[in-house]
Symmetry: C2
């Protein structure tokens, strides 16, 4: 999940390209300070790295940008288009991810036609003021129990916490600063991915 | 053109409904401080008044919201999707308006498949810091000369200035505060519309 303000001054596309080469499967482009035209330009710059990696690109909130630039889908929050409306615009094949912060959110996302859920923040994060207090592992377990969709954990996920969120039922993890702010984004992404692979073997 | 911050505390939908009943033909919903969900809700609240008046509703910048809510089109700026991309998403029937601030902008808008142009600010406005210095009547005349599309003048247009912008070639006018901030928005819209009608008879 991107935030161009967290790359320690490095070019976002270069940082993401390194992470994609390390195996990251999907990028959610989430750049709220960009106007629409600049978001389109950034999407165009990023797409070759996405395609070269066989990964997916989801645009935060903007179904029109996703459609115009042939991205793979959108990521929605409670402040976005309702998932059912986004599905009508995007058609059956593009991906719709939904941010969920509570067990009730997860039920809504599943009913609204989302393809997957990003649940959190599980742990404290530097962005916690924006996303609210951590929901914790117990809440993740309860969300998992009623969520029929793939569920990714987000929020303070470091490689040494991946085992715990996988044990609680996450299918994978999402990260912002853990990758974007890392001195070596490829190594940071690789460590998360290895921990996820290990978690899948164990659960 | 809306700005919910300029209604002197009155409900935007009520102010617009009064203006629509006075004969306003189109509303551009331009509410940059709203998130997408709230923009959708506002659009839903406004649409009955639009339909009752036989008017059109264009959504600023958001082709996805226009499509999801069945609005009549979008309004674009240099910071939005390029007009050709918006046309591809919206299809041939929905309207695409483009804000132009120079003669060069007008040429681009026409080439990009826009349906009409909003040109200005012609005069000084309270919003001038946001839109740049006034372009003036001479620039309006030059834009008119090379613009094959309907062209509306915006920016400081009061009823007593309508004759001058129509004489310079505008097909009509657009307003923000002149209607939204008026003590009697219906009367303010009516005065502009009467002046436009008179200008059409004269030119």
């Amino acid at each position: 999940v991107t935030d161009g303000g967290q790359t320690a001054g490095r070019d976002l596309v270069q940082v993401l390209s390194a992470a994609l080469q390390a195996g990251v499967r999907a990028v959610q482009l989430r750049e709220k300070t960009l106007d629409t035209r600049d978001l389109c330009r950034l999407t165009e710059r990023l797409l070759p790295s996405i395609r070269a990696a066989g990964a997916r690109l989801l645009i935060n909130d903007r179904a029109d940008v996703a459609l115009a630039l042939h991205a793979d889908g959108v990521h929605l929050t409670r402040r976005s288009l309702p998932p059912a409306e986004a599905r009508r615009l995007l058609g059956p094949d593009r991906l719709i991810g939904v941010s969920c912060h509570s067990v009730a959110d997860v039920a809504d996302a599943a009913a609204g036609g989302a393809d997957f859920v990003v649940f959190g923040p599980v742990y404290e994060t530097p962005s916690k003021l924006r996303y609210g207090p951590p929901v914790g592992l117990d809440s993740l377990r309860r969300a998992r129990a009623l969520c029929p969709l793939p569920l990714l954990a987000i929020g303070g996920i470091t490689a040494d916490r991946v085992a715990a969120v996988m044990e609680a039922g996450a299918d994978g993890v999402a990260a912002i600063s853990a990758v974007l702010s890392a001195a070596d984004p490829a190594a940071a992404a690789g460590a998360l991915l290895s921990a996820v692979a290990a978690g899948r073997r164990d659960h």
